[in-house]
Amino acid sequence: MIVGLVEHDGGVVSEPSLQMLTLGRRLAERLGVPLAALVIGSEARPVVDGLAAYGVSAVHHAVDDRLDRYAPEAWAACVADLIARARPSAVLAPGTDRGNEVMAHVGARTGLPVAANCTEVEPGDQFLVTRLRWGGSLLEEARLHGDVKLLTVAPHAFQAEEGPAAGGWNVEEFSPALQDKDFRVQVARQEGRPPGKVSLPEARVVVGGGRGVGSPEGFAPLEELAELLGGVVGCSRVVTSLGWRPHTDQVGQTGVRIAPDVYIACGISGAIQHMVGAKGAKRIMVINTDPQAPILAHADYAIIGDVQQVVPALVSAIKEAKGR
């Protein structure tokens, strides 16, 4: 049996979880074993039925009143409980913040190694995995040991696909063995995000600024360009390190991942840590003085020139075209 730990947000299965189940199903087919899902907490009830479409033939639903608020060690205890009872060959989780956190706890509890952010898995006595390094700028091929293989699946490395289940359909609720100590770390309270403008990960247009913008004030024309196009402004790590923009605007490995229709990158050289954050962009338009800048290798379109001249000219041209 292969087990996939499914994450959900308000009763909707997260996209990375569906991608994880897709990899889990392929793995289960290769090994000739069923794919099972583990869902945690009563809030997860609405997601159960939808999992059949992704090839899941058994759902293990951990139920306990205390699981209503997220507690990483308690989630790990649920996984460890299922491992002890069902002895799966592998447990997979999505490579999200939460998925990586829970699996690290599972690894620590059970003494098993964990491979984080895998993109490919070759089953066997030991699994051969390909996993992301440097946020995806580099790949590592590694041998994963352990009686039960623990791994997380890199989000957005491939598309989620529906597929047939091997065998029937069985939903089993269980009360996991939980101790008070498993709840010593638990969400005390939550705060919603402030409503308002489009968020960076969801924006259709992102105008990014780097060192070439020159100053915090230099971002004013970028703001204007973004607003005209219904987008938002992002920036490189240099810009946040200089204190020109808040960290929440930072695109990259240690910041936000964006996926716009077009990313207009202004005065950004294109360090790998920045580019992995922009990998989801459908098209990249670069404005840069240096035609040899590394970012040109990632670009679809480029204007070679100074951001401080080109961006205001582009703003005027868009306004003019709009007026026509």
């Binding site: 913040d97 939460r98 440097w134 700028s137 638990q186 294109g270 670069v286 379109y301 070679i304």
Partner: protein, 256 residues
């Protein structure tokens, strides 16, 4: 408030990565070294906590002898003490690293140095294993919160805030505790000249740890296949904007 902060030496990669011939490492012949961005913030956070609450900040790394450079960088911005777990040879996996770190912390405790807070970066910039902080917490039976972007210490409690699926999640956990932070929790300062001079002369505790067998065994590295793209140059300077407007129209993002 005695804080231990763990960092990892990593190369400063630029626009592209090249690998060594045996595909085991990044070719670092022309690269400088730093620590992972999350860890720069962890060091800064430790220094700020000590400035506000008193106590000491100890920086620890597991790495080659030359990783002393990263310890001195941390002391230059205010860390008081440094511990180097010297490990030449192949990279250690998360389990082995955590075991070695936990042992040092336990040894320090036996010698009368007990830490109230253990700070880690959420994940290293290079290996990205997401393991070490959590595993150290388990080995020492301490509570642990990862992904933290705001931290407040109230008496014997750490109040930690992080981004969650629907907004922000706030945790309150008793000290001693393990906290893994993310970049953005603060803006790290630059070292001062006196700070650099002080750090140059500060002692470094050196330990030769024993390496546990890796559970995740690195075989080789490879570069992902790049998108096979040809950039279309739209023009030089303001002369390029006309075609840029056409492109934006084609993409369907021009305002109507």
């Amino acid at each position: 408030m005695d804080v231990l902060v763990c960092v990892k030496r990593v190369p400063v990669t630029g626009g592209r990565i090249s690998l060594t011939e045996d595909e085991q490492d990044i070719d670092t012949r022309y690269l400088g070294f730093t620590v992972s961005p999350h860890e720069e913030c962890a060091v800064e956070e430790s220094v700020r906590l000590v400035e506000a609450l008193g106590g000491s900040s100890t920086v620890l790394t597991l790495g080659p002898a030359v990783a002393e450079e990263q310890l001195r960088d941390a002391m230059a911005i205010g860390a008081n003490r440094a511990v180097l777990l010297e490990s030449e040879g192949p990279e250690w996996d998360g389990g082995a690293t955590a075991a070695a770190i936990a042992r040092v912390i336990a040894d320090h405790r036996d010698a009368g140095i007990a830490y109230d807070l253990l700070l880690f970066g959420n994940e290293s910039a290079d290996a990205g294993g997401y393991q070490v902080g959590v595993r150290v917490a388990h080995l020492l039976d301490l509570p642990c919160v990862t992904g933290v972007k705001q931290l407040e210490i109230l008496d014997e409690t750490a109040v930690a805030r992080r981004e969650g699926p629907g907004g922000f999640e706030i945790f309150e956990i008793p000290l001693p505790a393990v906290i893994a932070v993310k970049e953005g929790i603060n803006l790290p300062r630059y070292p001062s000249i006196p700070g650099r001079l002080r750090a140059k002369k500060a002692p470094v505790e050196r330990i030769q740890p024993e390496r546990a067998e890796p559970g995740l065994e690195k075989l080789r590295l490879r570069l992902p296949q790049g998108r096979d793209k040809q950039v279309e140059i739209l023009g030089d300077g303001a002369a390029g904007v006309e075609r840029a407007v056409d492109v934006l129209r084609q993409i369907g993002v021009m305002p109507s």
